[in-house]
């Protein structure tokens, strides 16, 4: 025997004590705890945190990139520079240096001739690699079935829009003259995905090769042309180039991102991104709660071992280092499999939804995985550290007096650590600071309600006399709730946040889907008719009416410039940042209307009475940007004439509606004498499109714009977004269930001991079930009610501050959440307590 010493003296010892690195010991503790099953709950919670956040981060990134690419298709590029002259060579050289692909387009209005016919066209010269994003569709004959093509018109060729064929009286193979050169018509062009913006000024398209530009002889100094330099490449290079070029582009060169091109697409994508952000946040919150509960249980089960270690000579610091070392190992070891599970999860979702997700999904990047892995460490540090720090305060005297538990960690410490972690995680994950703040505020509000509620309970039931009036089988539960005030609050908070996170996401999903559905209902107008001459308005209306076509209101279009605000030239009147606002540098499309157009909403002021001749209604966002308020006097220039009107109302416009929308609307009397053309939108289903031939023939000067491609794109994206939203929700529900499990597991020891004691004292199964399930049901109802409060607050703030959706209370959740709480927690309580019933009380008492 090693302790066998011939003589023992205090001076001489065979065992030499020397400080040793705790690294190895932490690792051994980890292995032992893992083997004995002590770690599984914490590991499961952390795995969930890492896996869910990785999956959501990966999925969001891939989907956002894919949607971004779809939006880019509408621009034909990831980014473009629009300018009246070719872009400065230095800028192009810099773009090439960053590996960006380039393609130049030139657009200009011109007259094209075929035989005796002449027609104004919007000519477009393209390079062979056009477009960099998206595609062109062409047909071999006008109005014949079309297909995607990967080429562009060759030298000497021209592609014409179908409606140009009858206007010019030409067919495929005929020649048209553009400037000084003859081009052979080889195809009918049916779709350019980048033909999105500025469609009010569209004439029919003629596309030809850039090589023929010089021979047309059209482009001379001073010609009214628009150069577009398309750029495409990876996101980081684009960002670097964007920052670099910001200072170097001159005032006539305008950089546009895909997001800038179409407000309708952009709004949908922004909202989708925000929703994905919200789902990630809710998942983070749940993961954090699960880790906090698991850490608390881990810490509580360590009280005895810490006391023994302290008794055996371990210092406070040594105990702390050992535990922190063990946890650091846990975090590191969990990170990798967590990320792998997360990757598999998102890949699984992508595979499952292959048919409905965008065809092109970029490969997952490394960053979401790093973020996912880091989430484990941050959640463990933020949510788990406070309960674990208690362990250093375990008194060694606990080996003699088991009732000596360390003082609970100060609530402010626990909650401020956790809130900070939540906030940082949410912000880090989504970059949405307002949303992160809203969730943090709502969580704090729930915490406050719980604290006040607990105080109320303590004041009204804390009295022993009142407690003893309760039925015997309710007493332990109520007593536990009251005595373990801090712990009860933590569990209640965990359940409440779980229900709240799920309810908020579910409600917002419904609101968003409704909103999207409302924005693009069936029969959304898919054609815009423009350049309708005043003399044709009546015949045009009659034509549509007799053809049973559903149309929007007809609006006159008067083009004019805003030149002064309150008699100050407009460039001096606006802020420095807005000097280059697009609205100030071009002619605005203005209209008059005696009624407020559909999909418009008055924010300030009143709509004019019919017959009134003064006043003006301005779109709210533009008014805000230009600093225009009610009563401000705006001066416009139309066809060389100036006129001034005071702002009498400010209105919001639903840009996503695919109906004619205007920045400025006037009373009829104010504009009726100005030169105008007319515009409206209407819906035609694919079978009725032959009507177009009739329209084009009867009104040859009218311009028709087919929006089907854009609408299809938006509808496709919305369908995909809906699927994405639902996948997120499923991941969130899974996370929520895991949280519930960890909360119940964290309190199960105490319940098992209590149950076993009651059984050994003669309590029946039924009594025990009533007692345990009753407590859980009570908890579930309370958590449900609190979650309903939290959900209303959060969804109100999110709807009004982030998603720009209307808000109204959802009465349903006030019944559904408490009911769900009672059922889910009651069932969970039953599952948890089954062991007490199925095993002998002696075994349980021995184990716990």
């Amino acid at each position: 025997m090693s302790v066998n010493k011939s003589s023992k003296s205090i001076q001489g010892k065979a065992v030499i004590h020397r400080p040793k690195s705790t690294f190895g010991l932490s690792l051994r503790f980890l292995i032992r705890d893992w083997r004995s099953g002590e770690l599984w709950l914490l590991v499961a919670a952390l795995l969930m945190a890492v896996a869910v956040s990785t999956a959501i981060a990966l999925f969001s990134e891939r989907l956002q990139l894919a949607l971004g690419r779809q939006v880019a298709e509408v621009l034909g590029a990831d980014m473009l520079i629009r300018s009246p002259r070719p872009v400065q060579p230095a800028i192009l050289a810099e773009a090439q240096k960053h590996g960006l692909k380039l393609s130049t387009i030139l657009e200009f209005p011109s007259v094209v001739m075929a035989g005796d016919e002449m027609q104004m066209v919007s000519a477009k010269a393209v390079e062979n690699n056009y477009p960099l994003r998206g595609h062109i569709r062409t047909a071999n004959q006008p109005f014949a079935p079309d297909q995607i093509v990967n080429d562009t018109p060759g030298a000497g060729e021209a592609w014409l829009e179908p409606r140009l064929f009858p206007l010019l009286g030409v067919d495929i193979g005929d020649q048209v003259m553009l400037g000084n050169t003859w081009l052979t018509i080889t195809r009918a062009i049916t779709l350019e995905t980048d033909r999105g913006g500025d469609f009010y000024s569209f004439s029919p398209r003629l596309m030809f090769n850039m090589e023929d530009l010089e021979s047309t002889g059209i482009i001379q100094p001073g010609s009214r042309v628009s150069w577009k330099t398309l750029l495409a490449g990876d996101l980081s290079s684009l960002e670097i180039f964007k920052t670099w070029s910001k200072e170097r582009l001159d005032t006539s060169e305008r950089l546009m991102m895909a997001d800038d091109s179409r407000r309708d697409l952009r709004n949908s994508v922004v909202r989708l991104k925000q929703f994905l952000g919200l789902a990630s946040m809710a998942a983070m919150l749940l993961a954090g709660v699960a880790v906090a509960m698991a850490s608390q249980r881990f810490a509580e089960r360590r009280f005895d071992s810490c006391a023994v270690m302290r008794c055996l000579g371990a210092s406070r610091q040594q105990v702390l280092k050992l535990l922190l070392g063990e946890l650091a190992f846990v975090a590191l070891l969990v990170a990798l499999p967590g990320v792998a599970i997360g990757w598999l999860l998102q890949e699984g979702v992508v595979q499952l939804l292959k048919g409905v997700l965008p065809a092109w999904l970029p490969a997952p990047g490394v960053m979401p995985m790093v973020v996912g892995g880091a989430t484990g460490v941050i959640t463990l540090a933020g949510f788990g550290l406070a309960p674990l720090l208690r362990l250093q305060d375990v008194s060694p005297l606990r080996v003699l007096r088991r009732d000596l538990s360390p003082a609970p960690a100060a609530s402010w410490l626990v909650y401020s650590f956790s809130l900070m972690a939540v906030f940082l995680l949410l912000w880090y994950h989504t970059g949405e600071i307002v949303m992160a703040l809203i969730l943090a505020i709502a969580s704090s509000a729930v915490l406050l309600m719980i604290s006040l509620g607990m105080q109320f309970l303590l004041n009204h039931l804390g009295n022993k006399q009142r407690l003893s009036n309760l039925p015997v089988f309710w007493r332990p539960g109520v007593s536990r709730i009251i005595q373990g005030k801090g712990k009860t609050s933590a569990q209640l908070l965990a359940f409440t946040l779980t229900f709240m996170a799920m309810a908020v996401v579910l409600i917002l999903r419904t609101d968003l889907l409704d909103r999207w559905q409302n924005e693009l209902p069936e029969e959304t107008p898919n054609f815009f008719a423009m350049n309708i001459q005043p003399s044709e308005v009546e015949a045009y209306s009659r034509f549509l009416e007799t053809s049973n076509v559903d149309t929007s209101q007809l609006y006159p279009i008067i083009r004019g410039r805003l030149i002064r605000i309150n008699d100050v030239p407009v460039r001096e009147a606006v802020s420095k940042e807005e000097k280059n606002n697009h609205a100030l540098n071009r002619e605005l499309n203005m209209t008059w209307s005696e009624t407020l157009p559909e999909n418009n909403h008055l924010e300030q002021g009143k709509w004019w009475a019919p017959g009134s001749d003064d006043g003006l209604s301005i779109e709210a966002e533009l008014a805000q940007k230009l600093g225009i308020n009610m009563g401000d006097r705006l001066t416009f220039m139309v066809s060389g004439n100036e006129f001034t009107e005071a702002v009498s109302s400010i209105r919001t416009v639903q840009w996503e509606s695919f109906r004619p929308n205007f920045y400025m609307i006037f009373p009829e009397q104010a504009l009726q004498d100005m030169p105008a053309t007319w515009l409206n939108s209407f819906y035609l289903d694919s079978e009725d499109k032959l009507l177009l031939n009739g329209l084009i023939t009867q009104f040859p000067t009218m311009t028709l714009l087919d929006l089907d491609a854009v609408i299809n794109q938006v509808q496709k994206m919305l369908a995909q977004s809906t699927i994405a939203v639902e996948a997120m929700l499923a991941a969130l529900l899974l996370a929520g269930l895991l949280v519930m499990m960890s909360v119940i597991e964290s309190s199960i020891d105490e319940r098992l001991r209590e149950g076993a004691l009651i059984r050994s004292l003669g309590g029946t199964r039924r009594q025990l079930l009533i007692m345990q399930i009753g407590e859980f049901v009570l908890f579930g109802i309370l958590a449900g009610l609190l979650a309903a409060c939290g959900t209303e607050l959060t969804s109100y703030l999110l709807n009004t501050r982030v998603f720009e959706l209307s808000w109204q209370p959802v009465w349903f959740i006030w019944v559904a959440l408490p009911l769900l709480g009672a059922i889910v927690l009651g069932a969970a309580g039953w599952l948890g307590i089954r062991r007490v019933i199925s095993q002998s009380p002696a075994n349980i008492l021995k184990e716990v």
């Binding site: 302790v3 023994v308 003699l400």
Partner: protein, 250 residues
């Protein structure tokens, strides 16, 4: 033997006790306490548990402290072992005064000089028998802790239970593991708190046999708290705690 024990409550002021402690540090005393007072607040009124208690225990001696339930035996043991602090008075352990040390310094003294056996065994449920015995050696940074721990478990007759968890062992077996753990660090002083309190009579006897057998020849000082007079008589001295003071009964 009487010279090693004084139970006069007012014999020394704390200052004088400190001087006395210093003067006896050169002698071979394992535990000394002078003028120990312990008062706790229970239900808003102070309760005196120890009142001017003096005690001296020589190296290698075995001493039993007996007393009725609630007489303060465990409180005294906690203070002597440096797990708790007296309200006043001084305590020295292995020639070091410990009542003026902070908790971490006392932990170091405990780690270097003491071993413990508890009524409730206090084995760590997530460690096997072998790992429980290895624990103090690992905390102290001893080489080959596994080998030493195996030897000790063999000595207490548990060589076939090395990989068992506490819940898989009987009460007697758990206490054997606790004894092996207590001797693992080759302590100068072993403190035992009701070591047979949770065991039946026969097992209790076996455990006590084992405790003394393992100690045989090691020269470890044993301080044992019990209410079992048969067990107490196995020790060289038996002291009774009554009214907050000690009196020698054999």
């Amino acid at each position: 033997m009487n010279d090693a024990l004084s139970s006069s409550p007012n014999a020394l002021t704390p200052e004088a006790a400190a001087e006395t402690t210093a003067s006896i540090e050169s002698t071979s005393l394992a535990v000394t306490a002078f003028g120990l007072e312990k008062t706790v607040v229970a239900r808003d009124s102070p309760l005196t548990i120890l009142s001017g208690l003096d005690l001296q225990i020589k190296s290698g001696e075995s001493v039993a402290i007996v007393g009725t339930s609630g007489s303060g035996k465990s409180t005294l043991l906690g203070i002597l072992a440096g797990l708790d602090l007296p309200t006043s008075g001084s305590v020295s352990l292995a020639r070091k005064r410990i009542d003026n040390l902070d908790e971490d310094e006392r932990a170091r003294v405990r780690g270097e000089h003491t071993g413990f056996v508890f009524q409730s065994f206090q084995l760590l449920s997530n460690l096997t028998a072998l790992e429980n015995v290895m624990l103090p050696l690992e905390l102290a940074g001893v080489d080959n802790p596994g080998e030493r721990a195996k030897n000790l478990l063999t000595r207490v007759g548990l060589e076939h239970r090395l990989e068992h968890y506490p819940r898989q062992l009987s009460g007697g077996e758990q206490q054997r593991v606790a004894i092996a753990r207590a001797f693992a660090g080759e302590p100068d002083i072993l403190f035992a708190d009701e070591p047979t309190g949770n065991l039946d009579e026969k097992t209790g006897e076996t455990i006590i046999e084992l405790l003394f057998e393992v100690n045989q020849g090691s020269g470890t000082t044993i301080v044992l708290v019990t209410h079992d007079m048969d067990l107490a008589r196995r020790c060289q001295r038996v002291l009774k705690l009554h009214g907050g003071r000690l009196e020698e009964i054999s």
